[in-house]
């Protein structure tokens, strides 16, 4: 475990090494080296299985964080290679040539976050949404409620309650509210 982390640190200047569990670790490499690192892990270090690829929107920092999660079937180690890309010019080198299933992940990311992966096959195609015209819906600036209200004829008179407080009020109307509303939406 440490061995591979050392190697990747040395080779790709990996920072921010997190050992999550005994067999799960994350490293962050720079955008330019990310695909190189993944390729190297696949070809030389036995991380032949591509588990998944995902994205986190760090809106405040103006970054997208991409994660390539790899698995080594020999040593049973999972290694997540993270990288940050610019949020405004969200283009990332495509990894479709490494695993075919990357195609699909990249299509998903393109649809959900608007990250472009030039050269990735069928990247243009719809993933789950058909004919989506608004900004990518997983970007955090996208307001789903507002969109829904504007688009889908909301039923008038709908009220929304926090289940915890609502149920407490309903069941124990005489007691002070103890349940804290979790304010999720900003």
């Amino acid at each position: 475990m440490n061995e591979i982390l050392d190697k990747i640190k040395q080779k790709y200047n990996a920072e921010d090494v997190t050992i999550q569990r005994e067999r799960l670790a994350f490293v962050t490499v720079s955008k330019n080296l990310a695909i190189d690192a993944v390729t190297w892990l696949r070809d030389y270090e036995g991380f032949s299985h591509f588990v998944m690829m995902s994205c986190v929107d760090w809106m405040e920092d103006g970054k997208f964080q991409l994660l390539y999660l790899l698995h080594n079937p020999e040593t049973k180690i999972d290694l997540g290679v993270k990288t940050y890309i610019d949020r405004e010019n969200s283009v990332m080198e495509s990894a479709h040539h490494l695993w075919k299933q990357v195609w699909t992940y990249q299509r998903e990311l393109r649809e959900a976050f608007g990250i472009d992966f030039p050269g990735s096959p069928r990247i243009e195609e719809n993933f789950v949404l058909e004919g989506w015209e608004d900004i990518p819906h997983m970007r955090r600036e996208f307001n789903t409620k507002e969109y829904s209200e504007n688009t889908y004829f909301p039923r008038p008179g709908r009220e929304t309650y926090d289940p915890a407080t609502y149920m407490q009020q309903k069941l124990y109307p005489n007691q002070p509210v103890t349940a804290k509303r979790k304010d999720n939406d900003k």
């Binding site: 405040e60 243009e124 600036e141 969109y147 709908r158």
Partner: protein
């Protein structure tokens, strides 16, 4: 970062993203929906518009009921012979299969399942409906012969339910196709469904289940609603 800053930043980003989307060039069209050219055997070029060429697409017309007793008899027959096409996308559809079990046994009410919309006169729509599935619902609904009845099964179908604020699920089915019977609940039990059938029978026998004609009458309104949310409209305006 203060809330104000945050908001201004968000607005700024929003504007940029929208601009990005608009500037990013042409919208994606599925290859099979693109106009194409084929070469005829005699060498001439034929232009194919896959969205309209293959379909009749004529507007539906109102189908006048027959006169008096005949229509009554027919309505009775329709009520006693409800052929159901099920459409399930979420948890709702799992409530339909119990109806054929000995416990609920819908057959004794003259209700039975049919595999094709052409041969069904009742359409059970269950579960939340995303834009994507709504397209299929519309197409299937339009393909059913008149008179046809729609049973909306479950809260999600009727008003969006817990997905009321989702970017992809519709809120109110009856803005897109007419609904005869609403079976509320999350999820309604099979008994509720049976009750729904009973209600439908009542309506049919009373001659009030003429929603197919309503659809034809308000066709433009329905279509406008449908087209508002279905952006990649790849079927004709009316699916015969």
């Amino acid at each position: 970062m203060s809330e104000k800053d945050m908001n201004s930043k968000v607005n700024e980003m929003l504007a940029r993203s929208e601009a990005n989307v608009k500037n990013s060039g042409k919208k994606f069209v599925r290859p099979e929906d693109e106009e194409r050219e084929v070469v005829a055997p005699d060498g001439s070029i034929i232009k194919v518009n896959p969205i309209y060429d293959y379909f009749s697409g004529a507007r539906p017309e109102e189908e006048k009921p027959r006169n008096g007793i005949v229509e009554k008899f027919l309505n009775w027959a329709r009520a006693e012979s409800i052929w159901v096409l099920g459409f399930g996308t979420g948890c709702g559809s799992i409530e339909i299969p119990p109806l054929v079990t000995p416990r609920f046994d819908m057959f004794r009410f003259g209700v039975q399942m049919r595999p094709t919309p052409r041969q069904s006169n009742a359409f059970i729509i269950s579960g939340y409906l995303s834009v994507k599935t709504l397209k299929r619902v519309i197409r299937t609904y339009e393909q059913m012969p008149s008179p046809k009845y729609v049973l909306a099964l479950g809260s999600c179908t009727i008003n969006g339910g817990m997905y009321y604020d989702s970017y992809s699920t519709i809120n109110r089915l009856d803005h897109y196709i007419p609904v005869d019977v609403y079976i509320a609940g999350c999820m309604p039990r099979p008994e509720a469904l049976l009750a729904g059938f009973a209600k439908l029978k009542e309506l049919i026998k009373a001659g009030k289940a003429e929603k197919a004609n309503e659809y034809a009458r308000n066709f433009d309104w329905y279509k406008a609603n449908q087209k508002k949310i279905v952006k990649d409209w790849n079927m004709p305006d009316y699916n015969w």
